[in-house]
Symmetry: C2
Subunit: 243 residues, 2 copies
DNA sequence: CGATGGATTGAACACTCTCAATACTGGTGG
DNA sequence: CCACCAGTATTGAGAGTGTTCAATCCATCG
């Protein structure tokens, strides 16, 4: 039962690293390559800015998916609701992230504001023209979808194989990586315990208890319920990768 | 809270149906887009055919991802192994399916033959040239990645929210759909119980017990351990969509 | 026909869930 | 400024689903 060498590849920052490499190779003219994000800026004249309050729905499952969104500030959750009222949070979308590159006529899930947010959106038709016009951008879109697929597949592993403690550690590590948390800094968790629970396939009580356990272990400090200090990154990282 | 209308969109046959429709018209011309599959055939001169025996590894996590594979016969499992030896089967790949369109320098997971298989593979470089040459094909690749991402996200819901019985029903329904099972026909399950367990995040014992329960419920008949008769599709479908 | 690997069943246990009570927090109005 | 309120978080106790460990069954194959 070998194969341990590549555990790190599924980590979010590993993906990031790869993109950096692609960037470097693909642009001779500029050392700083353009991200999907950068390219979207050229559509500024077609863009719309919006604010949403905490809890508001940005779009709902089943609506036509005719815009691309870029979150400027705040955090969004993407959820699926089942007929019986169960909710799964597929992912959280942070400031700077994009939504809407899926090839899909209708929204496959609902987007809700976790906290007050600002976003800018572009008509899908414009984005499609932009993408079609430029091979460089097409590559970016492929990378974007690929990295999301890899993330989802990694999350399948988390939900399929890990215990509550490991899931929470995985979540915290990924979140710390995504927010470029410096060691020792306080991790700001915009979402509530219920959101974390629905993302990790646990109950709110188990999330609370698991946080308490990690606190007792000395791995975390909890200054307030939306702030965590990752005191023992090594231990948390080990839990996330699991033994 | 509702939103049930679009449940079908994430179903595999929704995607397949679309491709099938496209394919049916494909003998003509402009109205008739070709599937990704069809396009790959133009690379026949660069292709290699291979056979693998039950249990053999086709490629391993971490190897360079420099080929695209098309499964001609048999079933493949895509798995991730953790350092501690846990295994998660991300998905099963059936005859006719493609592997290798992820934008990724190294294989993110291992591919193993569930049973004896035949496949044909193409160098990634050729495929990339082909894709770059034709906007139609590019759209197909985007659709391919999108539908896989949607599948993965649906599976996240299954693992995050469903009970053992519901997971198994979800699995069987999807598998029946993917193999175009006619009502009343026997479903052929090439993979073993352990594979199903590792795909659904359960143990082999729970898989067995759950199958027994469904048999006792009258939802299934089990002529042999690799054959199932879905006697009550309605009940199974209801479980899969959950209440 | 015995051997091997997979499948099935049983029993005890553990982790997580459920239900319930309590504590906290931020915001509101007196 | 303080008291109250509503929503959220935390903790406790008991129950349940799924796991673990172990034994038995079954099918395939040499």
């Amino acid at each position: 039962m070998p194969i341990s060498l590549s555990a790190a590849r599924n980590e979010p920052n590993a993906t990031k690293g790869r993109f950096a490499a692609i960037h470097a190779a693909s642009d001779r003219d500029a050392i700083a390559p353009l991200t999907l994000n950068d390219h979207l800026r050229t559509l500024q004249s077609h863009s719309t800015r919006h604010h949403y309050r905490r809890g508001e729905t940005i779009f709902a499952e089943g609506e036509p998916a005719d815009r691309v969104y870029k979150i400027l500030a705040g955090t969004v959750r993407l959820c699926r609701y089942s007929a019986g009222g169960r909710r799964h949070i597929t992912d959280f979308v942070l400031a700077g992230d994009l939504i809407g590159f899926l090839e899909c006529a209708d929204q496959p899930m609902t987007a809700e504001a976790v906290e007050d947010i600002t976003l800018i959106s572009y008509p899908r038709s414009c984005v499609d023209r932009l993408v079609a016009s430029n091979p460089e951008i097409r590559t970016r879109v492929l990378c974007h979808l690929s990295s999301h697929l890899l993330e989802a597949q990694h999350q399948l592993f988390v939900l399929g194989c890990q215990s509550a403690k490991e899931r929470l550690a995985s979540f915290l590590m990924r979140f710390a990586d995504r927010t470029d948390l410096a060691p020792g800094e306080t991790l700001d968790l915009p979402m509530g315990r219920q959101d974390i629970a629905d993302h990790l396939g646990m109950t709110i009580e188990t999330v609370c208890r698991t946080i308490s356990m990690l606190k007792n272990d000395g791995a975390l400090a909890v200054p307030s319920s939306h702030e965590l200090v990752l005191k023992d990154m090594r231990a948390l990282r080990a839990l996330a990768v699991e033994n």
